[in-house]
Amino acid sequence: MSEAVTLTEDPYSIPLEDINVSDPNLFMNDNHWGYFERLRKEDPIHYCEDSLFGPYWSVTKFNDIMEIEKDHNAFSSAGGITLADQPEDFQTVSFISLDPPRHDIQRKSVTSVVAPMNLAKLEPVIRSRAIKILDEVPIGEEFDWVSQVSIELTTQMLATLFDFPFEDRSKLTYWSDMATSGELAGGPTPEPVRRAALLECLEVFTTLWNERAQRDPTEANDLITMMAHNPNTQDMDPMEYLGNLILLIVGGNDTTRNSISGGVYFLDQFPDQFAKVKKDLSLVPTMVPEIIRYQTPLAYMRRRATQDYLIGGKNIKEGDKVAMWYVSGNRDDEVIENPNEFIIDRNTPRHHLSFGFGIHRCMGNRLAEMQLRIVWEEILKRFKRIEVVREPGRIQSSFVKGYTDLQVVVTAK
């Protein structure tokens, strides 16, 4: 690897060809916005020759991303959805990193956990937990919203979906964090620590699997029982089981967690929007997708070209890695009006890229929206104001876009 270029706040301080938006520090310091804006203007399909992850293309405009999302034959998900390649001796597989037909078969084996009928059953459970968590936050004194509210709520939800021992649920958060913060992905966790954590995850879940395999599947609808009894998933090898667990844990945890925190941060930055929703609670359902757009909890998804492909005048070659930067497409003013503004009553608020599109579109998107809707309905019943007292800490990752902490002071109604 050549000498790393330090990316500062000024996106015009370096030549275009040196721009490497996959640098995790760019996101940790919240300096990525200007670089993406420059790429959208000057080089929307951008080739980066040298990065921590080797050479890769960046796709930065909404409609170009949509084109690639739709063409799952030309752009394969096999081999992974992050720019970091998995080490040869530790390769997990999951349905998000498979192409059809295996992808479709495995995905279908677990989809029903987030089917609308099941969501209706989960709603009162989520609400009673949200009420308990929000009733316990200190009023008028500083605390960390991330650990006390966002993590608690999403981890409890995840434990329910897996029917995971409730008292051990913090393990789920730990494994989720370990899975996405490895040094090979540019994060702070040493590779041996990451592997040890994931192997522990596999061990605990293998015990659960063996128990659930004996269960009557008609009397349980948790994810493990579903996989253990479905002919399409019951014979997965351990690394495939682990891969799917990580997918479901990260997908069901990090993303919603960071969107819950993000909403608090945005409404502090845009007090007029907070005033608007306080006055009209019927805006919560359109505010929720706007929070998810504005946060973009996963900054990109990766594909690999299976053929030479011409897009935006650039020749992507067979075998090239391609990052579809949702975080950039969600700020593309050719598709989204005033994209840098947080506006809670947009006409088509769900027209954003955060869930992806095409066959890999987020399976839990309606569950995520429901959790956010309930949290905000309950917040607005209780609190007059949530003041963010300083800039939040941000995760050192170009994939998971989120917060390490968010210090707030809450005022009761």
């Binding site: 949509m66 479709d104 995905r107 279908k108 989809t111 609308p116 088509t348 027209h351 309606r366």
Partner: protein
């Protein structure tokens, strides 16, 4: 103008005059017929404009494309009547088409 007869899951009917060349999804969303989300805006890539159309009317429609097929296939509630309404373009031949809306989109 050909007419689309939308029937909500709760039985509420909406008879809407459609523009030739508009999709059934656009006909619904531009006339505030509830029950169709259309998150992707008509790109056949989210499956949140799922509708149910009986065999008789289906016979008059173009066959599902591979893309529509792959998106429909992800829906565990898919039935033989399932289609994505962004892929059905209105014309005079479809005057009176009955479009049943599912209970939920996802």
């Amino acid at each position: 103008m050909p007419q689309v007869k939308f029937i909500e899951f709760n039985g509420t009917k909406h008879n809407i005059d459609a523009n030739n060349g508009d999709s059934i999804m656009v006909t619904a969303t531009s006339n505030l017929v509830p029950g169709i989300d259309a998150d992707c805006g008509g790109e056949c890539s989210c499956a949140t404009c799922h509708v149910l159309i009986d065999a008789e009317w289906q016979a008059k429609l173009a066959a599902t494309s591979d893309t529509e097929e792959s998106m429909l296939d992800l829906n565990p509630d898919r039935s033989a009547e399932s289609r994505l309404s962004c892929q059905i373009i209105m014309s005079d031949d479809l005057d009176g088409i009955v479009v049943n809306l599912p209970e939920f989109q996802y």
